[in-house]
Every structure is written in C-alpha cells, then in structure tokens.
Symmetry: C2
Subunit: 430 residues, 2 copies
Amino acid sequence: MKDIYVKDVAALEDGTEVELKGWVHKIYDLGKISFVKLRDKTGIIQIVIDESLNVKLRLEMCIAVKGKKVKNEKAPEGIEVQVDELKVLGKTYYDKLPFAINAGKIKAALETQLDHRTISLRAPKITAVFKVQEKIADAFKDYLKGQNFTEVYTPKIIASGTEGGSELFTVNYFDHRAFLAQSPQFYKQMMVGSGFERIFEIGHAYRAELHNTYRHLNEYVSLDLEMGFIEDEFEIMDLEEGFMNYLFKYIKKECSAELKLYNIELPEEVKIPRITLFDAQEILLKEYGKRSPKGNIDNEGEKLFAEYVKKEYGSDFVFLTKYPAAKRPMYTMPDDEIEGATRSFDLIYKGLEITTGGQRIHDYEELVANIAKMGFKTEEFEFYTDNFRYGMPPHGGLAIGLERLTMKILGLDNIREAALLPRDMKRITP
Amino acid sequence: MKDIYVKDVAALEDGTEVELKGWVHKIYDLGKISFVKLRDKTGIIQIVIDESLNVKLRLEMCIAVKGKKVKNEKAPEGIEVQVDELKVLGKTYYDKLPFAINAGKIKAALETQLDHRTISLRAPKITAVFKVQEKIADAFKDYLKGQNFTEVYTPKIIASGTEGGSELFTVNYFDHRAFLAQSPQFYKQMMVGSGFERIFEIGHAYRAELHNTYRHLNEYVSLDLEMGFIEDEFEIMDLEEGFMNYLFKYIKKECSAELKLYNIELPEEVKIPRITLFDAQEILLKEYGKRSPKGNIDNEGEKLFAEYVKKEYGSDFVFLTKYPAAKRPMYTMPDDEIEGATRSFDLIYKGLEITTGGQRIHDYEELVANIAKMGFKTEEFEFYTDNFRYGMPPHGGLAIGLERLTMKILGLDNIREAALLPRDMKRITP
C-alpha cells in the first residue's frame, strides 16, 4: 500500500528516505545518470537514477523507487529524489504511445484521445477536469444535505417513458420490453410524496437522441432534486441560485490549482436574472433580429441571449421562465397569470442550457386530465399517477447535467471532454 | 417553503406560533374537537382541531396548519399544537387506503406493500430503512475520500460483459446491441491505471439472473472500489475491515433511533476472521456433515459457516479466501502458494455474501493468456486489455451490495425491503 504521495515530499526534511510509486512521465537519459519525472495521483517529481541500477525505463511504466529526498535548485520545485532502489511494478507492451502526454497539450484529435482514454486521462490537465467534476457532485450533495434533502437511488429500468416513449432506449427485460430512464422524474416526485419531502439523486440518465453534437451525450450523469411544500417555481430557482453560489465558493477552495490550469476565474457572487421566455424572444428579435422557434429559443438564440445578459446584467447565468405548456412535459404546473404558460424554467449558463426545472402538478385529477389533454394514454401512466391519490404536496424540482456544468465551468469545447468514458451514437467503447 | 419541522417544535417556548406541513397520520374525531397526528419527514406530532374550522380531514391528506405550541401531559411527547388555521395542500382520491400505515406493523403481503410503495414508505419503520441506507453510502464515501480515493461515474451501457456475456441485459443502442453493466469492474481497473490510483463508484449494477429469491435483485446499487499499488489481496480485506468499523460507528451515531426501532445492537469493534475456502469446506464437513459444491459454498453452507464463526470467533463476519481459479473471473490474480487458487475473497455477513473482491492480474500478457485459457475470445476484450499495455500497477478491489448490507444490518427478511423501488424478474413497476 502507498503511504506517501509525491505532494508530501516537499515538506520532508532533506535526506529523508522515501518510497514513491507511480508512472514514468518523462525521461532525460544522460548516459551515466537519468533524470526521470515520476507522476502519481498528486503530482510530478524529479528522480535521479544512476546507470548502475541497470534498468531500462520506458514512458508510462509503473515503478516503485526508494531513495533520498534532496534539494536541487535546478530541479523543478527545487527538490528531487536520488534513487537507491528501483522496481518495475507494471511493465509496458507498446511500440509507440498513441500520443504524447508529457509535452503540454495533447496533439491528437479528440476521437483519438477518447479511443485511448486511459492514456489521455493521465495528462494532468485532463485529470483536472474530473477533480473539478467530483467536487461539483460533492458540493451538490453537501448543499442539499445541509437543507434536509435525502439522497435516493431510483430504478433506471422502467416500464414507461416520462414523456411518452420518445427518445428511449429499450431493454430486453426477461419477457418484457422495458426502457432506460431518461430522467428520474416520476420517481423523484413519488419519493417526495412518500414522505421524504426533499430528495436528490446523482445518477445516470439515458437519451436515445439522434444528435451527435458537442453538447449531447446519450448517457450522462444527472444531478436531480425535488422538493415538496413549495409555493411556486421561484423557490426552486432560489435554491439553484443558492447552490451556484455555494458551488463556486466550494470549487474555488477545493480546486484552485485546477481552475488556474484552465485560466478560469469564477465570480465572487452569482445573482441570476429571471426573464420570461416571451420577453427573451422579443429581446432577441429587437436586439439581434433573431427569430425564435415557437415556444422556445434555439441553440444560436441561447448564445445570443447569453451575450445580451452578460452585457446588460454582468451575469453568465440567466433563468428563462414561463415556458408554454405545449413545450413542457405533461406534469408541468400551468401558470396562473399567463395564459398557456407554465411554472417552469431553464437555466442558461454561458449560452448553454444546463438545467430544466419547475413546479409540477400535484393534484391527481388535474394530472390525469393534463395527460389526456396532451394526447397520452392515461392508463399507461397509472403506476405514476395512482400515487397522487394519497395526498401529494405541492412540489417542484430540477435537473442539472453534470457534464454540461463541468464543461461550462472549465470552458471546454466538447461535452465528451467532461465524461470519463463518453457514450454517443457512435461510441460504446472503451 | 418549509422552515420548521415537527422535530423542531419540542424546543420552542410554550405559546409559540408555528406553521407545520405534513400528512394526516391518524384522526381521533371527538365531534367538537379532533386530535390529529400530523406526520412529516422528521416525526409525528399531535395537533388539535376545533370543529369550527370546518374541515373534513382524511388519512394521508397533505395539510398546512398554523397554531400555538402548548404543553399537554396527555399528548405523546407531552406537547401539541392548537390549530387556528388549516389548509389542505394535497387532496386525496381514494375509497380506502391499500393498507393501514398508522397501526404498527403493516398488515399486507410484501408484494402488496411494494405495489403501493409510496404508501408503505410512509410508515416510519419503513422510512427508517432508507435513512440507514443513505448513511451507509455516506459512510462509504467519507471513509474512502479520507483515504485519497476519487469518486467516478463509469458507463452502464457497455459493449461486452465482464464475464463473457452471461447474465446480461441487452440494450438496443441505435444500430448496435449493447449491454447493461453487471459491474463497473473493467472501468474501475482502467481508472486505477489511468492515474487515479484509488477510485470508488456508487452506482447501479444489472444482473439478468433467473433467480427470484429473498436475496437477489436484478438492479441493485453497488458500492465499488479499486485500489492501485497494493501488495496483495489482504490489503483490500484490511480496507474493508476498516470500513466496517467506520460504518458501524457512523451508523450508531447517525441512526440511533432507527437502530432502536429494529432492536439492533451493533458491535463496538469488528474483527473479521480470514479462513480459506478449502478450510471452510473441511470445517462444514467435519462439524455439520455438510458437503459443499466444488470450489464454493452454497447458501445453506454460508449460513452454517456463519453459525460456526459466531460460535468460535464471536464474529458476524467472515472472510472466505483463496477461491479456486475455475470459480473466479478471468481477471483474478492467481495465488503464488496454493496451486489453482486465487488471491480472492468473499465477505460473509450474518450468513449472506455481501462482498466479492480480490487482487487482479495487472500484467498485459498474463491477462490475455488467462482470458484465452478460460475459453473466451481475447479480441472481444481488447477495449479492456489494451489498457494494460501502458503500465498498470498491481491493484485490487471489491464490491459491496448496498441493499444486502442494509438488509443484514437491520435484520430484514427480504432484500426487496431494502430497495426503494425494487426490480426483480416480475417487477418493473412502480
């Protein structure tokens, strides 16, 4: 077992004996001695190997070294380890690495990097993405647990789709046809009703969308929450705004090195303007001559509107509110004031939708009527609607795409860069 | 939004105005006044409703009440709320509840309880199961994060099965046939190799096993970990033993009320005997006249052996070690000392296997040779084995079934009781 990491060496006294284990990151072979960069989970350190040790190192070999920590002004960070003993722990079996990971930015197409994901992930700048991603999920969890939310695990194998069966992957489940959940929507609501009141889930969601774009994955991690006993959808927006403030503080503290690597400065405070979809469409038309599709804003519109909000409000975020009922799922609560609108919202961050949320219908009869009105067969949803017969509190919630949020925080170009092992229309390996 | 919960009322001064929201748990209608038990996420409290408020309450209705907190020696816990205002937040639409949840143990078959899961979950004793389950997952996460493990999310849609395709659900993935991951095994190992060194994942796993027993689910939550730079499989056992000690302390602290509800006393310290499978088989034969299947112990054997270990070692746990290679997957590290054995183990807790783990083969050539030796097509596993060409440290890991651990800690009879919404051969709803 490892008991010391590269990051711990700097604090040790000069001359201390250490045993380090990691990967051979770089080799400068000077004949009599070699300067080698050893990489582990926590950093990179220079080690000095005398030819008398008689080992033939290759890049990315796994090794264990014993030696003395010494100061050396010429070494990076001013320290190095003079190796007395070296053991190869993991041999290599390649002619040539698929690409270099020790020379700054990887010079290979993203697809090639993903084909060799366990190599590209070794590059410190790419590892950093997943450090940040882990901390986003931690922040989500911490923030919600602090507000009396319960974490749940709901099934991903389901009998009917949330929105009537489109965009679902089918699973051969014994003698049945089942589906992969495109969101935990139904179950989140049911868990609120079953007495948990406030729940969240961090889990996979599946979309059989025929999109192969920079912002779509067919399997992604969804940060989902649902909260009972609300007055309106604005409480859900308040909660998300609170989360974003918590998150940015958390990441600044936990991931300062990673943010620096990506030249990211996060704002001190997040204050998110709330603009109705209708108003946003009007602004797009007036300011940019941009026409929007009925009841929505397209990808180009999202980007233009983000520009506008940045200019007018100084914010990277904007809530678009009051989407029309025709464009929202059948469980969305109708708005009291605006005819045909709903108590719903999207959150746009740097021009990309990262959240959909809103208040849901909680009255059984209203829900069943709305399902019928939208043209679905009510009996197909009885496993869901029947739960609403037994006292369901007013409630609402939201979902944040973890990869999208990671991508936008770090300014990545493609969502595949924010997934350890992305799944898209063409990729189910590695 | 709720700002006060039932559990907070006791600490308030007498006469304080409170607004509580929750479900109608029990009604004693005395005509002029009614004593009602109001239930929320945190507990149950008596509220007193005068007939002048003119509301017809039904069980499980969602209500909000405003009133004064007062002392009343006759009330449970000695306090109640005298209601001035009452609002129905969630109406009910039923003729009769499927079963009573306010009269102690639910008098309905488990299948009926699961058919109406959002009702059975409202019973405080059943809610308690998921409080404990949540804390188990929290403890796993805390314990591992404290030891430099990284949390990861790996794909559940995969191209080939871990053990060659048996017991896999197939997914129609665009033009391909894909599978649901029966474990994150391959990806855990790959992530260790890609520089994370130590990783864990809490996620769903899928087994298309044709078993409908008290201890099988077809979709379950797996607590998975994998650790690089180990010497042997005993380090993985040490880690798990450490986790169990951490877990029990954690649960005793966080879930004392829930443990009390189930009459569970957890031991102060967990010290787990380690016995080879061969020795265990010999003991079973000698002590109980019980013959075991070749290279394994069956369900009855596990129970008998648990009895033996409890008697001889005073332990609810036992590690069975050194399983034969023929009974372990192709990635299992062969043992150096015992011919035909592997560096593997199971953890049995109160007579049920809750963990499988061990050291894995990390050398590329050895792995490929072992895959071929076990009769699989090596080319089908190239997306996995190719990663071993680039320096893989010695490593091992384990997986704990979350529902099994929950079930055994609380002494539940059926694993379905430890899943919010279980999936088995016959159940994909609700």
